[in-house]
């Protein structure tokens, strides 16, 4: 191989490796699946496992939220799909919702998931056209989760007992 070719390829390799290292610093992936998924998403080849997503939605509709999240995690192991993250956030909302109180821990996890969904959605806009849901946009779900973890006077409003889970 000619020296100029070797040097050119080497320079491209070094730059690519440095970009990869920089990407790892910015994204801080926690699993190999997140690394490979993130790289696949960067070149547009990342796909969600459709069967696992369908399983997750079925569990979700049946109120089996833990099972649903396990299936969603299988469908989107790299946490790169906005719609799946939306469903994960919704499952935290529905599981944590209570007529007298909301589970702050689950709501907080839901907020983390909806933030991931918003970050992944093109231009930050995410609409899920699922007739089984009462909230179809990430903004509605996020507002509901934020209201759930907030402490204010409305928490003591007796009319709150009449609220329905969305």
């Amino acid at each position: 191989m000619r020296e100029a070719t070797t040097r050119g390829l080497g320079l491209a390799f070094a730059v690519a490796y440095a970009v990869f290292v920089g990407w790892l610093f910015v994204r801080q992936p926690q699993t190999i699946a997140q690394v490979t998924g993130g790289l696949s998403a960067a070149i547009g080849t990342y796909n969600v496992d459709a069967q696992a997503l369908a399983d997750g939605r079925r569990f979700f509709r049946n109120g089996q939220f833990v099972e649903a999240r396990l299936a969603f995690a299988r469908a989107d192991p790299a946490l790169r799909d906005a719609q799946t993250q939306f469903y994960i956030a919704y499952s935290f909302y529905r599981q944590g919702w209570g007529r007298l109180y909301h589970d702050d821990l689950l709501y907080t996890e839901g907020l983390a998931a909806i933030d991931r969904a918003l970050a992944l959605a093109p231009a930050g806009r995410l609409v899920v056209a699922d007739p089984d849901l009462m909230m179809h946009t990430a903004e509605e779900l996020k507002a509901e989760l934020e209201a759930g973890v907030r402490r204010d006077a409305s928490d003591f409003n007796p009319l709150r007992l009449l609220e329905v889970r969305k």
């Binding site: 020296e3 100029a4 070797t6 040097r7 050119g8 390829l9 080497g10 320079l11 390799f13 070094a14 730059v15 490796y17 440095a18 290292v21 790892l24 610093f25 801080q28 926690q30």
Partner: protein, 213 residues
């Protein structure tokens, strides 16, 4: 030095050191960049490496080389600096008096090494001993003192040590694999230093003296 080593080998070695050295494994794996002070220490280390002849910068950057070759050389210099800073950062404890003590130790040591102006061979030996000792102090001695003890007596002694030093000595205990990662990054860094394009050794002056009749 071959073009392949300069273009592929050295950047791969030093970027790997940078990556391994940045990895902190606790409840979650986090990549931590070197602190500004570690970058300063990295620059000092780069200086002594050049001064000793372990790195001949004119063999990486010069007007006699092509633009592409100079770009390769510049990449090597930048990643060497980053890796040097990261290796020093991984050997400095995370908190308390040990962190300050190690930082000052490295700073003084690098200035002293620059003043002593060792040759390549001595510098490489000195760096292996110094960085190796810092590794042992941090990952063996210091963390052995900080590891929670099983027996009541040992826990009591640890509590006394913690009280006497006002909590300044005890460190957060890292994941067991952290020491192996640090050792790997240290060894790969030293190998990278050996692979750098260096100046040919000048024979000692006394050997050049003409023999007396």
């Amino acid at each position: 030095m071959t073009a392949a080593r300069e273009a592929f080998g050295l950047p791969a070695v030093f970027l790997t050191v940078f990556l391994l050295g940045a990895l902190r494994i606790g409840d979650a794996a986090v990549l931590v960049p070197p602190s500004p002070f570690a970058l300063v220490l990295g620059a000092l280390l780069l200086r002594v490496v050049v001064q000793s002849g372990a790195l001949a910068p004119e063999r990486l950057l010069s007007s006699a080389r092509s633009g592409l070759a100079n770009a390769n050389g510049l990449v090597v210099l930048v990643v060497l600096w980053a890796a040097a800073a990261q290796v020093i950062a991984v050997l400095i404890p995370e908190s308390g008096v040990p962190q300050i003590a190690f930082s000052v130790f490295f700073f003084v040591l690098l200035l002293n090494t620059a003043a002593a102006a060792p040759d390549r061979e001595r510098l490489l030996r000195s760096l292996a001993v110094t960085l190796g000792s810092a590794f042992v102090l941090k990952f063996v001695v210091l963390y052995q003192l900080s590891t929670p003890r099983a027996g009541a007596l040992k826990r009591m002694l640890q509590a006394i040590l913690d009280s006497v030093t006002l909590g300044a000595l005890i460190q957060a205990v890292p994941h067991p694999i952290a020491a192996y990662l640090a050792l790997l990054s240290l060894v790969v860094f030293l190998v990278g230093l050996v692979l750098l394009p260096h100046r040919d050794q000048v024979p000692p002056r006394r050997l050049l003296r003409p023999s007396l009749p």
